[in-house]
Amino acid sequence: MSGFIPVRVTDIRQVTPVIREVSLQSLGTALPKFSAGSHIQVLLPNGKRNAYSLLSDPLDTRHYRIAVRHQENSRGGSRYVHEQLQVGDELRIAPPANLFPLHNEAHLHILLAAGIGITPFMPYCTELLRRGAPFELHYAYRNCISDAYVAQLRDLLGERLHCYDSPQRRLDLKHVLSNRPLGSHVYACGPQRLLDDLHQQAASLGWSDSRIHSEAFSAAQSGQPFSVQLLRSRQQLNVSADQSLLEALEAAGVEVPNLCRGGVCGQCQTGYLQGDVEHRDHFLSPDEKAASLMPCVSRGCGQPLLLDL
C-alpha cells in the first residue's frame, strides 16, 4: 500500500477512563477529504498497525480525530496509544477508506452503537444533520466507563438520541426494529454479539439484508507463535504471539493489499498450499477456507504454513 501520510499528534483527550481521543494534523498539505463512516490505518512506532474510524467532521481537512479504547487483551496497539503516545509525536497513517458508508437512498437512518462503536456515527450525525435527513441514534454504553460523547450528542441530537446505560437499561432490538417505515435502513457498530443479534432479530421481523449495515470493531488478537514459508519469495518468517501474520509480512517487506485489518473486508485474502490455519475472519466461506486465509487476523497452527506469496 502506497501513499502513507505523515501526521503529528496535536491533542490527546481522556474521554472516559478507558477511551482516549487523539487529534492528528498533517505535516504537509491538507489531509484528504473523506466520507462519513471512513477509517484510517494508524502505523504506530512499535510496528503495530490498526484501523480506526474517523470521528471528526468530514468537511474538516485540517485535523482528523480518532478514539481508541484500552483493550484488556491489547497486542500493543491500544496500550501504546493509552500509555506512551504523546502530543507532538509523529506518526504515519494510510489515507481514509470507507467500508461503512451511508446508504444514500434511505428514508430513515437508524444508527445502533455499542461502546466504542460510537465512533463512525459521530461523522454520520454531522453529515445527516447537514443533509436534513431523518435519523435516530441508539447508543448502548456503561456509565462512566464507555459513555464517550454522550453529553455532546445530547446537545447535538436532542430527541434523536436514545441512551441505554447498561445494565440498568438494555437496548431492546425488537422494539427498535418493529413497525418501521419502508425505506428504513439500520446501521450497527459494536461487538460481534450485537451484530449477530441484530441480524437474527431483523430477519424474524421481515427486514431484508440489504437494509442492514454493520461494522464489527474487530482487530487482530494474540495467539501462539508460528512460522510460515513463502512460496514465491522463498522466505521463512516467524510470527510472534502478539503479531499478526499481516504485520509479519509487512515487516519482511511483503506488501499485501488490505483495508480493515479486522477480517471483514476481504482485501488481504491470500492463498496457501499446505499447513493448518486457525481461521478468525468473517469473510471467507467454508469452501474458500480450504485454500485461502486472511492474514490480518488468522494464524497458523499445527502443520507449518506455505503461503502463495
Binding site: 484528504p32 466520507s35 489515507p95 481514509p96 477508506a97 458508508p101 451511508l102 446508504h103 444514500n104 437512498e105
Partner: protein
Amino acid sequence: MSLTFKPVGSYHQDFSFRNSEEAIQRFPFPFPEDQYMYSVNLEPATSRNPGSIFEHCFDIDEHYRSEMVERNRVLERDPRRCLVMPHMQTAAWDTLAMLMEHLSQDYPQWFALSRDGDQWQWQNHALGIDQRFTYGDADTLPCEPLEYIGRQVQGDFALLDQREGDLFMDAGIVTCPADWSLAFDAGMSFKQWHSPVPMAHQMGVFDRALKYLVNIQVGQPVRRLNWTLTINPRLDTSPETFHEWGSDRASITPGNVGSLVHLRVELQVMARLPRSNALMFSIRTYLISMDELVTQPAWAQRLHRVLRDLPDAIADYKGMTLYRQTLVDWLSQFDSQA
C-alpha cells in the same frame, strides 16, 4: 510538452474534425494483440509516457475547443444529457473539485484555481472564464456544478452511487456516448446497464469488474480502454439521435471507407470521489479515420486481423455488421500476410 488548440472543427453536418500528425501519434490504439476478446482490462491510472494520453488523469488535447462547442450544441438541443438525482449533489461537487484540482495542476497555462475556505476562484483561459463562487452553493454558479464543469472538460462523466455492494447510475453528463443513453440508464445497477453486452456476462466479466470497482479507494484510480467503430467523426452517437446517424452505416463503399469509418476509442477512468463515496466513471473519446490510422502500418495490419476474426456477436453489438466486410477487404491491402 506544450498544449495548443486547433481551430474549432465540427462533429456533425460537415464533419470538419481532423487529427493533426501529433494527435495521430498519441492516439490510443487499443489492441495489444491480433485478436480481441472481452476482459477485465483494468490497470492503475498512474501517470506514464509524458505527452501521451496516459500522462494526466484527465487528458486535454488539441480538440478541446471543438469538443466544448459540441458539448454546448448537444446540451442546447437536449438538456436531459445532464442529470443529477437529488442524492448525488455531493458527488457533483466532488466531481467539480476533482476536475478543477487536476486541470489546474496538470495544465497551469490554461487553468487556475485559488481557494480560501469555501470561496473559490476558477479561471479557464482557453474559454475566457473567470468565475468566483462558493463551493457547495449552486446558486453562485451559472448552472448546476456537474453541468458547469462538464462544459469545460472533454469526455463524458457518469457518477455512480455505491450501495449494497453495487453501483447505480444516478448522475452524469453524457453528450458523446457510443450508442447508450444516460436518460435510459438512469437509476440502473451495474449489471442492468451492461445487460445488452453479448458474451461477457457468461464469461463472468461483470462479476469480476464490479467486485474490483466497488473496492477502488480514494487516490487510487484505475483505467481501461474500450473501442468501437463510428461512421463520420460523430461524437454524439446516442439512441436519442439514432435517426440522424443510424442509416450512415448503409452508406459505406470501397471508395469512401477510408474517410468515413472511424475507430472510436474510449479511455475510461474510474476514481473514488472522496466526500460522497461515489465512483466517477469518466469516458474520454478519441476518434481516428481509417485514412489517418493506416499512416501507422502496424496499426493497419493489426486492425485488419482483429476485425476479420471478431466474433459475430461482438461485431453485431458494436454495430458494424452492415459494413464489416467492406472494411475488412479494404484493410487487407495493409496486411502483408492477407
